[in-house]
Symmetry: C2
Subunit: 191 residues, 2 copies
């Protein structure tokens, strides 16, 4: 029996991404975003939603660039902290000991200790209520070599990306392999 | 050491959502989307990206409505199938035995057997390369009562949402609780 919960942001799973940018004074900053996802295959693109009042937002608008550093289970406390304070008041890198590294392809910093990072050029925006969708064209993805399958596919069981549960406001991570995509459904295809 | 993988859609975690719509002949249809996410808190909204050539796309444009049924681990094969064939040629509900149920709030069907469903009104679109972002305002969320915490929060450990890994094209699901959001990062806040 299904229960109606009203018009709420309860979709699952939600990512936990550290959005990195240089601020208006060119200092590295990062915040956590759970509202976002991949949004096009070609050009490879993703979207993250930020409130325009965020310190990170002004930096992205100035530099037309941002990064997404995928938050891993083993840096959950550091990741959570990035969403608790504003870069206006606190140097979050100094506070956590995390290291900002300048991207190769865009003018934005990523977090060195995070296992997978994505460099994005801001190519557009879309306003939806209190949030603005930032559309980022992916210019490069970098991943720790020891977390790749066959030297090219990021392995979720090694990256252990955090997953945010909007209702319980809890973090989880990925579990074991369930099945291969575009394969396990074949049993329903009529011969 | 980080390895450059190029401009690819490798962001993690990605959702596995069944996007439901009535087609142009008013027949229920559903397809799988992994490119999407929540995109605003107020009004509660989400985005999913579809290629305009998809059968589901035309139906959503006609009815200005769609649903997201969160694909669970225990229906992984059925979910995968929904992404393998087109509703132009196959009645996916008949093939899998899944049940389309008309939404209360919008003119679109959700999948009865799926544990959590989200009813969306199409309020806008944004074209990004080969995909179109569909912006959906959430009109209601419905969840199986036995999968709620405190009668109101969907429990990811019971819903067991599928997670798509774009590089390995594999499905995983969520693991155990890692930590509480807006809490475990407090140790980095200076007193």
């Amino acid at each position: 029996m299904k229960k109606s919960l009203g018009p709420k942001t309860l979709a699952q799973p939600a990512p936990v991404w550290a959005v990195g940018a240089y601020d208006e004074d060119n200092k590295p900053n990062a915040m956590i975003a759970a509202w976002g996802g991949i949004c096009s295959s070609d050009p490879a693109s993703l979207t993250v939603s930020l409130r325009p009042s965020r310190h990170t937002y002004a930096g992205i608008m100035k530099h037309k660039a941002f990064t997404v550093s995928v938050c891993p289970e083993y840096l959950a406390a550091e990741s959570d902290f990035l969403g608790m304070v504003s870069g206006k008041k606190v140097d979050k890198f100094a506070a956590t000991g995390l290291t900002p590294t300048k991207s190769d392809c865009v003018n934005a910093p990523y977090i060195e200790e995070f296992p997978m990072v994505i460099e994005c050029e801001l190519t557009g925006t879309y306003e939806q209520g209190i949030h603005t969708l930032l559309i980022g064209e992916i210019k490069d993805v970098k991943c720790d070599e020891d977390k790749l399958v066959d030297g090219k596919h990021p392995d979720p069981e090694k990256i252990l990306p955090l997953i945010f549960s909007p209702g319980t406001r809890a973090y989880h991570t990925v579990s074991k392999f369930v099945g291969q995509g575009f394969s396990i459904g074949k049993k329903y295809i009529k011969k």
